[in-house]
Symmetry: C2
């Protein structure tokens, strides 16, 4: 069957924005992950098969599938003629703000770069993978490629991804409700062209503080910096992007309560609807601390259920220190 | 004369904003500095004498002088009745965007806290000193109190200053033109209530990257992150705040040229008109590198003179690792 090369790869899911860092921050998650098997043959064309828990929600059409789109884009930019067969094991809940499509795209470009020896840098892989993302946004693919906590700088020289090892004491829980969002693209359209100057300054101050907190390993400062986003999260709540019954007011009230009572920072993961809970493992060690996190989680679930949502998954996870890896 | 306590203090000048970090970033400067002599007596009232190079430009009226305003505010918040005599040696060019008034206020509150044993934390001193600043902005006073590179987080819990040691290879030059700006307060009024979303995202991305760059000691990334500010600097140039002949277009063109040709990042210091040139001392070591910085400086001076401005001072300096200190 003239196989040129093959391999099995695993990419971490990711949570973009992390509060105020819209289009700037993302964090790679140890769980869930996505597995991608890649076979390269002589020939032409990209084909996809999707297996696994969420197989019915991930398209196999190569014009719609993110792994295939990213792979085709990469081959085209280098004018490479090969047949590529992708098998996606869909274990990241799709369209829930956990970077499922970004992880597919990241795994695909990482795999082809490795298998065909294309010599792309990690920054170039991010750009190639982002070509398959709505709005070409870099945050999820950057986290899935680099791992860790990423800061995306977009400037006149192109893009530069800064990956920082997240503080080892940063604990994470992902809550996935069954709320159906239209699409990330439509969530992006919910944002107005002009924003409030004072909200802008507050966001910039929180982003600067959060970046420093991650670099210094200061979990307490990180939680305080990211817990409120006065801009994009509020605008999207206003626009109903996070589901019925989630308003700007209810979201802020919930966040403040969780932070004050339990020391837990709740943010919307990407464009939602999943929630990411961040907490300090040191402060929440032992039975008492653990109970605080459990109570915070119960509160979040209770409030989501009150709006009529069901909880699909609750994932206790950690920041993933690494991005896509080859495992076979 | 019933002197209760006395001392001599030195506060560093500072450069706020550092490109995109409007109301968020500031950097303390090793030079110029401001000297403040403080005598506390039994009695009441705050009196100021101003000496030194810029004595004619700094008010001695305690209702207008920043050191006196900050001192009065501090005494009032603690309901302390003392007579305070301040002698300001004005060596920081006033109203040139170098935090002269912030350094005065910082020195005054630091001195009284020390001399009267008031037990204010550094964060509390920042708030007290900022009460004397237009718009209560924290950036300059934070840098003068903490030293180093500061990131100001303003959130629902109050304010939190993060001070980071700047990279030791970060070189700084301040260029002070004789352009007269109305006031920092009017420069703040030049900003519109709503700003462009895409500029907002670019600023947030640059602020996040710059904060990480400072924490990681990555001068090259810092320069790249701060060199362009698409928001406040451009809006103020549009509003004529930086003087005749300095437009958004001319400023951006000048910045791009300096960065590309000489590797120097030029930013407006605070609300201007001074310019802060940032460069990498490692890349600019030796005769050739030194010549590049000199050429960049000559270019900046040449362009300022072409708009009709004269250069009052050119100060080769460094980040100041420390804030206000008592020297006598």
């Amino acid at each position: 069957m003239n196989i040129v090369s093959e391999g099995v790869f695993v990419a971490p899911a990711s949570s973009a924005n992390v509060g105020p860092g819209y289009d700037v921050f993302a964090i790679a998650l140890e769980k869930p992950t996505l597995k991608l098997e890649v076979v390269v043959k002589e020939g032409e064309g990209v084909a996809v098969e999707v297996v696994g828990r969420y197989r019915n929600e991930v398209p196999e059409d190569p014009l719609l599938n993110s792994a295939a789109k990213a792979a085709s884009h990469l081959l085209k930019t280098r004018n490479i003629k090969k047949e590529v067969r992708l098998t996606v094991e869909a274990s990241i809940p799709p369209r829930k703000g956990l970077g499922a499509s970004g992880a597919e795209a990241a795994a695909a470009v990482f795999a082809l770069n490795r298998l065909l020896g294309l010599g792309f840098s990690a920054d170039e892989l991010v750009v190639a993978a982002a070509a398959a993302e709505p709005g070409g946004h870099l945050d999820n693919v950057s986290a899935s490629i680099f791992g860790g906590f990423v800061i995306c700088l977009r400037d006149e020289l192109g893009s530069k991804i800064i990956s920082v090892s997240p503080p080892p004491d940063l604990g994470l829980i992902v809550v996935v409700p069954d709320i159906v969002k239209e699409s990330t693209a439509s969530a992006r359209k919910a944002l107005p062209p002009m924003v409030d100057m004072s909200a802008h300054v507050q966001v910039a101050s929180r982003v600067g503080a959060a970046a420093a907190a991650v670099c210094k390993g200061d979990v307490r400062l990180l939680l305080r910096s990211v817990v409120i986003d006065p801009l994009v999260e509020c605008l999207r709540a206003d626009a109903g992007v996070y589901g019925k019954g989630v308003t700007r007011e209810s979201l802020l009230e919930e966040k403040r309560l969780l932070f004050r009572r339990f020391g837990v920072a709740e943010v919307i993961s990407g464009a939602g609807p999943s929630r990411l809970l961040l907490f300090d493992r040191r402060e929440n060690a032992g039975e008492f601390g653990r109970r605080k996190v459990d109570e915070a989680l119960a509160e979040v679930i209770h409030r989501l259920e009150k709006t009529g949502a069901k909880i699909l998954e609750t994932i206790e996870t950690n920041p993933s220190p690494h991005g896509v890896r080859q495992i076979g």
